[in-house]
Symmetry: C2
Amino acid sequence: MDISKRGLDIQESPIRKLKPFADSARERGIHVYFINIGQPDIATPQPVWDALKQFDEEVLSYGPAQGFLELRQAIADYFDSYDIEINADGVVITVGGSEAIHFAFSVVSDPGGEIIIPEPFYTNYNGFAACANVNIVPLTLSVEDGFRLPSIETIAKIISPRTRAILLNSPSNPTGTVYTAEELERIVSLALEHDLFLIADEVYKEFVYDGASHKSVLEYPEIKDRAIVVDSISKRFSCCGARIGAVVTRNEEISQSVLKFAQARLCPPTIEQKMALAAYRMGIEYFVPVQKEYQHRRDVLFEGLKDIPGIVIRKPQGAFYYIVRLPIEDSEHFVRWMLTDFHLDNETVMVAPAQGFYSTPGKGKDEVRIAYVLKEEDLKRAIIVFKAGLQEYLQQF
Amino acid sequence: MDISKRGLDIQESPIRKLKPFADSARERGIHVYFINIGQPDIATPQPVWDALKQFDEEVLSYGPAQGFLELRQAIADYFDSYDIEINADGVVITVGGSEAIHFAFSVVSDPGGEIIIPEPFYTNYNGFAACANVNIVPLTLSVEDGFRLPSIETIAKIISPRTRAILLNSPSNPTGTVYTAEELERIVSLALEHDLFLIADEVYKEFVYDGASHKSVLEYPEIKDRAIVVDSISKRFSCCGARIGAVVTRNEEISQSVLKFAQARLCPPTIEQKMALAAYRMGIEYFVPVQKEYQHRRDVLFEGLKDIPGIVIRKPQGAFYYIVRLPIEDSEHFVRWMLTDFHLDNETVMVAPAQGFYSTPGKGKDEVRIAYVLKEEDLKRAIIVFKAGLQEYLQQF
């Protein structure tokens, strides 16, 4: 009895699969700086914890499949504070941004359909594509030009009769790139010309720096029936473990269909919806210091890394990641070696090999993703340890 | 731009779609006895609430994709208290039993594969089948013989080359039937003979009455590589809103594959896993009074309904549901009418039309599902109101 082909083929998380080596380093007494995953160290805001403590019911019961109305309204209000008008019925609460992506894939495409995604991309899109049996067609970008989008003509070349949607993730995990209005407009016109949906993963919306601002695909009235935003509180409010996200769209047929998928799994977690409500009610002022902190960390990392001989690094405008090219051949080998064979005064660093963020075979083998999710002091120390490790690695291999 | 075929085809929850009529009845000041859904009124146990209040971290961070080890071990220990030996690595924590079903479908079958399920069945299996693009092949049972399984020969007739698994849900939602060891053995031998997986939804394991006990598919060593148990804390600990379930199996290939699907969605909710841990640590003694309470309710409902002229009702052995046949033609019409046109002293009752629990067209139109999730006093009153409503309905139609 064999398991399914999709069960065999689904990619193991390239980020998580090296975790055992980190665990074993820690067991040997080595301190590991984890800048491999997007787990921020920013404290979850107090109103969120207050909502947890105030939860007071006798029975922990099911909520509505689409999520509590108050939360859906609070999310609509949040969009309104960016001058984006959305009805609470256009918001379906999901179990993390993860489920929102899965629902979006399922509702735009049947099995065998194609979704174009600029690569490198958030590696878990692969998992949802496997779940939904859709094929990701990568649009390859490169570190040299800061992972900017190519011309309309170049993108159009990979559109096929099976293409159902383009997915944009801006600010981007893993590149940090924030697409300009002009870049977005290219995609909008392609969606119109080729009759495609546009899925936008905007979970890092507030993580934009140097005074830049994020433009949502919901700001383009000409694609109001084509635009589907995937959202999440995980990064926005440092609530990764809450598993609260949303599908946001003005296309009623899509929100109705997403609701039917949502009904099958009954409801998102009840308590965390109350916590999320408290988070959204803080208003967008909350992000001002958070944004400042991340911008500073980004600069610290850039200054620390830019002079490494052979590095290719561009300073990104958003999220909290860098993809950098290193003068190495196999970043997975390097990352593992840092955990198994190297330490500097009993400290080492874990970054993420970039290969898992590409779907084109062989791409990203000499690149790593670094997440600036540590406070300045730790980040500076991590940079020192990282550079020492890289230097020793280059001498050995 | 059309949405996907699966997005159009996915069934709207037949239980939830009548909710607006109930809301509107309540707005008119009518008290509705909800015995349509499996939302128990049993208090969530105090240790679970204590775990919530004791949660004290600065950052609500991601947990491991497979769930916290302590919880996986606690679930393994729980099985051990039923003399079922399971390794913690054979337990993957999921977002409710819902996600466990979805993962199980995905891992046993590719799109187009078939899964045999005795009908009437838990209606949300349809949603997960749509998500996973597998086809449910119903094995039709009937109320007259208490929804017992037919002979091996009868079941074998619906097995095809595309059949990948049989799904058993015992104690059953919606029928309350608990399969005997002999019935289980029929399925075990079919799984062996036809090379099939066996998915067992055992979330109502403790809800068995009259001194009966539940036998798990994990108790059959000959199918240890074929058996996948879907589990959940929702009913067991009255924690429906927590969204914590599990896939439990001895087949390492399956648990490894499920883990890869789990990695894509990062992790189950962090706080609820701590709550679930507290629940499992109570031990199975917890269920003794709960079981007694439900057995009593079942008897109250049976006594209250059995003399309705034209009713077909068999007393089930488990879960907290009845499927009964009524002398009506269209139970959906009846259920809606009870909410829109009827009240007795400003009270009415909502039950679930049974049609949504069948996948064979036309089946179950004269049946309803009744959930005995209310305390005796309320249940008795609900029966009086229900009978008065049915009588008036039969006079009118």
